[in-house]
Symmetry: D2
């Protein structure tokens, strides 16, 4: 931690700050400059609260040197984490395709889509049984029945299943049926839900919040790892900006940034980011080229009658040609699908 | 709903769209213009899904005419909602001051602060027993013990208590001790928590999410009202922007915007918005001048040793002078504190 | 400057960085911590380029300690700058009202509005002769003829005139007719225009760019002062955020932030920020309560037929009642209008 | 244009609105719905001012149906624009690499870099003689001398030159030496500069403003085309968001969005967007995969001693391997470099 003092801070105030640092078991180094005095703190700065230090009279600002997360960081673990979901490896050389409808609607429809995305090259089936909807008057998902449909589709196709959890009280139901627990963007800082997911022995996919910084995103993942569950993958799905031409702005630079900071696999969800079917192929290719470890794409056999987000679902047939194109891009960056 | 067709849409496609609208029990009016054809839909457009319509081939965009919320709107209820919390009226001529520490720490400290803020003019005591913290390694709140300290402080001072809920499983504990249930910014779209709060017979204060639009904010409030609880107040607490000089950007224009759209009372929390004690007085005065129905301000008798957010807590003595200043501003806009 | 080294940086790399610092005539202090080594630099860090330092192998980041501007800062000049425009003092106890139409249209209309806003309490007349318009097909202003209309309106009413410059080639024409040179939000980083304004002996009002941070805003003002012109006032007019309920988000916290950092007067333009007449009064009152030194408000006697921005212009009559209300708020914060 | 009336609007007010529309030579269609009355306007809505309509009492909002730009749109011109710069085709099957230093420093350095980037596969040389710098104390460019260095480097290598203009007064000097006129992000809404560029017979590269929407970006290009110059290419270079892990957020979804809306070629500048050398390769590959027609990349043979932006310049050697990688990605999307 570097503590910058206000100009004109008295020696007494300075001594008090030095004392606070020493009380925390750390070593302060006072450096008196021409325009400012700074105190460099040697030791584990995580013991000091940046915000509390800023409250001390005489302190202009406190600049942390270390990142606030630990278990998710590359410094803590150098090699990439590879998550094994029923034999599907996420985070290695292979890029994983997760596909399926936004929400689970009927068994027939789901099973049909599941077979088609499998044939097209998907290895994980997505589908929401609990749907976070902006309006209380929109379709909220089938709940447990939807989970059962997913389980049946899995039995039929062999595809492991990823589905979203919205409430810690649903955890037993979710882990009974799902192979990957999804925590959505709106719940990225639902810390109790994160802790609950951290106590499970199931992989978790954590989506980035609409206005979450990379640092906050990693701290939310840290919540899960700090409870003991290190099978976590991160999903970039677009951030909120001023631009309205797309639903959100897909931040693909998050991929190389995260790859430097963390060992966890990175998934990209272009469907929710752009919100328009016609834009998905370009962004899916870009995500693969930028180094994503997997993609999550919405596929529906009849988007015009989908219960939600019909305008961003691809037809199975279009998804199939997309995977063909993606394989070429993957090969061009020495990966495979 | 206004549906704009793509240039060159075939008559067949147009007829299909017209059919979809009629199937929903609404009346479509086709208007053929020079450069575009539009279909105006007469009837309750909430029956049509904007996103599903956008998925129909030939549709360029679908523009909703009505706002998607109902119970929270001024059209539904013209007069201002006034919430009565143990005799304290929120939403009327009087501007309510809610004050107290960020987190509940010890009984003594809390009781001391409670007495001081009461003497200074506060009529509601704030304090967090469950704290949503960005990092898993930060202080997470005292939990139930904290709620008991709040109850004791209430007994002693007579101040009703507002405290945050983070998990639907804590609801029984919270409603036992709190007079106002607070739902924080990070949980504004935790829809299961909103529904749970909607089933209680207690006032709820809903904070605006960091990147929530006014429309999403009102839809989240609609979740609570649609479950039967209409004692809801809204709290503006700063939105996330590119500016880093303040913790968040306090969007005071939300006050007049919300006053036009909704009948619910509006509270402003300048402490979390600006994140620096020295900036709070200016923003508190501005909020009162802009028409806020109440303010929530963090007060701590020893900010340097606060367990959280010490840099944004005012000293009781400074809070006292602030209230004196705010009374003058309130009078200048024909309100009182 | 604090330079944080990457973990595992070799001694050789460290020595190279130390050498670079010494070559710049500054004193480096190496502090070897448990997890990171940092180098604190004593001396005028403005001699070091933060970006160039970051390019040196082994450097993780370079954290500047000092603010990059000088002449605009409170540290450089403690007392508030007061600008005298033909006897109207900007930046002292009195809050200045600038009012008038968005664009100058006809002499009659302008003169009429000028008389009305003067009667209502305005002391500066605003009006655009050169209009920065998003579309090339929108009205671009009357140019020199508009400036002559402004000069005539000034002669008639005695109100000094503020008008916008868009092109350094127009400077002679502008300074001939205007009393305050306005540089608009879109030109806040038109550095050649800033330098040109810095060479004039006329007050300048610099508007904050739509996505300019406070730091960039002050650096743009520094361009003007560094050329010799210290009669600069800053104007907050709303920043671009994700919210669409208002045209822009008025960042009133910029007022107390700027008051701490700079000695220059702060004007607020609520009209462009909110973009809707009905929201202006609340924000104008809030700006006064937050400490603004002046307001700029669009007034038009027939908004429905205005050549631009009709939806944000107040009627003269409404402006008059607003000033009455603002006088009360000003008095409540010990100022006057 | 669709005009939505406020609930409770009188027949008299409605008739006035209808009259305004008819006066503009357009046909209004009144549609009386259950909750709202809307007026659909048939004819060229560009004759109506959206903002002025919103000012009429009784109007809740005015929704434009058509896009406000014309010449830049795909509707106006279906086939892709291909710009020929001294034989280098921009906008066709070939992806163009523009490379060189941020600013021109010395003739030797520039010539050396020019030869190296040419050998690596670049076909256009970039270099700034006039530099828009946030601080007045940063290096502002060599001016005309820099342009001469560029001309000499062109003579030597045969590479056409792109350089930035900041002031309309410099146009004669710029067009004498440059093959492509660059208008930077900070000047995207410097409308006088746009008009000046529109009068030249030279290709223009227009960079997207830091907070410009796609619509505003296209309207700025429309300024240039409307003056007669249709050799315009658009450059995405990152937008300003809340994220600070990268300098800006590269909005790659702008590529497919723009490809749908306009016929103009799209260039991507990953260097300025991410601001860190190590992130450039991933984003360059992603841009190619997403459909960019060209890339602009900063290359410097000694980034540690660059006069500006050293932390985002690649070494010539690294640029060379990047081009090798990019060729593979280009081939995977049926393009070539």
């Amino acid at each position: 931690m570097i503590i910058v003092l206000k100009p004109g801070t008295s020696e007494e105030e300075r001594e008090r700050i030095v004392g606070t640092i020493e009380d925390a078991g750390l070593s302060p180094h006072v450096l008196i400059g021409k325009e400012r005095t700074v105190i460099a703190v040697i030791g584990d700065e995580r013991k000091l609260q940046q915000q509390t230090l800023s409250a001390i009279p005489g302190v202009e600002k406190a600049l942390p040197i270390l990142s606030p997360y630990k278990l998710v960081s590359r410094e803590f673990k150098k090699e990439d984490t590879i998550i094994d979901v029923d034999g599907v490896k996420i985070g290695g050389g292979q890029i994983v395709m997760m596909a399926g409808p936004c929400s689970v609607e009927t068994q027939d429809l789901l099973s049909g889509i599941a077979s088609e995305v499998k044939a097209a090259g998907a290895s994980i089936l997505r589908g929401g049984a609990f749907k976070p909807r902006t309006s209380p008057y929109s379709f909220q998902g089938l709940g447990e029945e939807g989970l059962e449909f997913l389980a049946a589709a899995k039995k039929q196709t062999g595809l492991p299943v990823i589905t979203e959890i919205m409430d810690p009280r649903d955890m037993p139901m979710i882990i009974k049926h799902a192979d990957i627990i999804q925590i959505g963007a709106r719940n990225m800082q639902n810390f109790r839900l994160l802790s609950e997911a951290g106590k499970q022995n199931k992989p978790v996919m954590l989506k980035r919040g609409l206005s979450a910084t990379i640092k906050e995103f990693l701290l939310s993942a840290e919540y899960i790892l700090s409870e003991g569950n290190d099978q976590v993958m991160l999903c970039e799905r677009g951030i909120r900006t001023f631009e309205t031409a797309t639903r959100n702005t897909l931040d693909l630079s998050a991929i190389p940034v995260l790859k430097k900071l963390t060992h966890l696999p990175i998934i990209v969800d272009p469907s929710h980011a752009v919100g328009k079917t016609s834009l998905i192929p370009a962004m899916a290719k870009a995500a693969v080229a930028a180094g994503a470890d997997g993609l999550m794409i919405e596929v529906h056999s009849n988007p015009m009658e989908a219960f939600c987000d019909g305008d961003q679902a691809m037809l199975p047939h279009d998804f199939k040609s997309l995977v063909v194109d993606l394989k070429r891009v993957a090969a061009a960056v020495d990966r495979s699908i």
